[in-house]
Amino acid sequence: MSAPTTPNVAAPASSTVQTLTIGKAINMGLRAAMERDNKVIVMGEDVGKLGGVFRITDGLQKDFGEERVLDTPLAESGIIGTAVGLAVRGYRPVCEIQFEGFIFPGFDQINSQVAKLHARTQGRVKVPMVIRVPYGGGIGAVEHHSESPESYFAHLAGVKAVTPSNPVDAYWMIQQAIFSDDPILVFEPKKLYHMSALKEPVDTAATPMPLFKSKVLRTGTAATLVCYGPTVKTCLEAAETAAEEGNELEVIDLRALSPMDLEPVFASVRKTGRLIAVSEAPSEASLTSEIAARVQQECFYSLEAPVLRVTAFDTPYPPSKLEEHYLPDVDRILHAVDQSLEW
């Protein structure tokens, strides 16, 4: 089976290395894509003069004009539905949804048009659009500003989904997604946008890794942690602590949520025999369910313990004073590691 192809995103002639946050890296990635192709347009609520509520599109309207950076009317179905038409017309729209909790007025368009036009027309109509979705919790927000709805979109055939956990991925993923001929949702871990501890050098002349590949971030033999987006940082911290206790954990950043690249996870589980899947989303019928199902099928004879999951609970996102209990943290991950090791 051939892996999904990654669009070729060539480095510009004049490259630089800059130390960036995830948020700034996305901003630079958007800028690079807009410079490369004038059919790339950005659209969403407050993305123009304000630069978006997270400032991810900061400065783009000033430099590319109001016709390429559109402050749209306040309606998510409108944003996504008109982006479909623009894509059909030859544009590469990049939609910003202000917070994940507001994507649902647009869900009909995503499900019924974005995901299905290509198959419906036997490939005659392509929908090369990107939907950027700030997601995840831990920011002390009010309702609808902290959720993790990615599983709905992974469940939906016809759209792809990726999520960066670091500035280098953030810079390249947005560009690779924009130049893909498929519609792609980019889930952006909002808690990490401006976290200076995650700053790292981004080399715009580097060769980016393929978009739909997972990545082993830390090798170990005791157990495997698979994670994505906001939980990658937490899992790496958990692995540090476990190492102090003598347990080397392997940590894999999924990167692509749909389709998932689970070969590195299978290889890891064949080595460690134990897997803990970590996500901020509720567990019921989720990405972590999918991982557990596939791993038990592929690695049945290697497993020393059942696949365990550390996730949010199967409840609505609570008032954020309680989110520290709701979201996976280092303690809950290590508790699951202990359970797995003691099985």
Binding site: G51, T72, L74, A141, H144, D314, T315, P319, K321
Partner: protein, 404 residues
Amino acid sequence: MSDMSSAEQWTHPGEGDLPPATAAKPTKEQVIAGLRATTEGGADLTQLLTPEGERVASPIFDPYVADIDFAALRGLYKDMVIVRRADREANALQRQGQLGIWVPLLGQEAAQVGSGRALRPNDMAFPSYREHGVGYCRGVSFKEMLGLFRCTSMGEWDYRKHGFHPYTIVIGNQVLNATGYAMGQKFDGKVGDDDGEATIVYFGDGATSQGDVHEGFVWAAVYDAPIVFFCQNNQWAISEPTERQSRLPLYQRARGYGFPGIRVDGNDVLGCLAVTRWALEACRHGNGPVLIEAFTYRMDAHTTTDDPTRYRLSDEVETWKLKDPIERVRVYLTRNGGADASFFEQVEAEADEFAADLREFVFNMEDPPPERIFDNVYAEPSAQLEAQREEFLAYLAGFEGGEH
């Protein structure tokens, strides 16, 4: 209404044809139409009290405020002062880290108090998330509203008792919910005479772009629902001026759905009270729905996380300060002998006391227990969730025993 029967009239705006909303600079027509943030609500603005505190006679609307004597007007004044003082206190509490976020209503006191005081106990109000002043008029304590902004709850008032629905954060969702509630009032036979019930729903200029709001208008029209659509046009949807949402003054949209739309000076508490009473009366008698556009201004940020200096000019804010909803009532009362200095001093003192009490309360608010996460997800228990809750509690208990 004969002009409305002409097909020509329905399809072509005709004279005063509006320019495209995307024009880089506001045109005179856009300013006059009120599509650009402006002090002028245009010729169709209903106003009973000018910014200078002059009472304007209105044959249509005066009867709806005939009972508002000096004492009643002093009451409205006091409502607005207290609501503003509470709003400023909450804003300060957010700055001091006591609240996670605050959604200021500064500048919208008249729209909220005027419309809120027009409601009767049996009426139902569906707020968006900025209607703290309406909540106050419905008898909801600010203390019951602040949990949402301290992120300890989703709002704790008794929705039925107060006739004030929970706050809705997803833009425009509540307009459909309110329409359904109003349909229920009608199905229950509570519409048709002076004692009829009605519903009011609050939303902003930005929300008018949402499909839910359009559908709410359609449903309400088709079912003759007794609902007042109360749009507070505060000129800004975060960073986007109203012209990003419409080519046409918002109240005129009602015509396309087949019900009346009216623009009132949202900074005129008397005007808002009169127009809302008028609209509610139409609804009670089965002549709803009605759209009210309260033309006002968001004097502060969208929320405490917003920085309006990035997208609007301070000149505009300064101009609107001259249209202050509270000051005009003070001028009117003073000039006409409706209140003396001691009254205003007393109101200030009461507002200070109100704010101090609120402050004390917030500082002493306790966090909810962790197991609250699992409460009330369903009306009927779920075994799966109960098992998760038990596992979580056992996990928490492990920390107490020093297991971790």
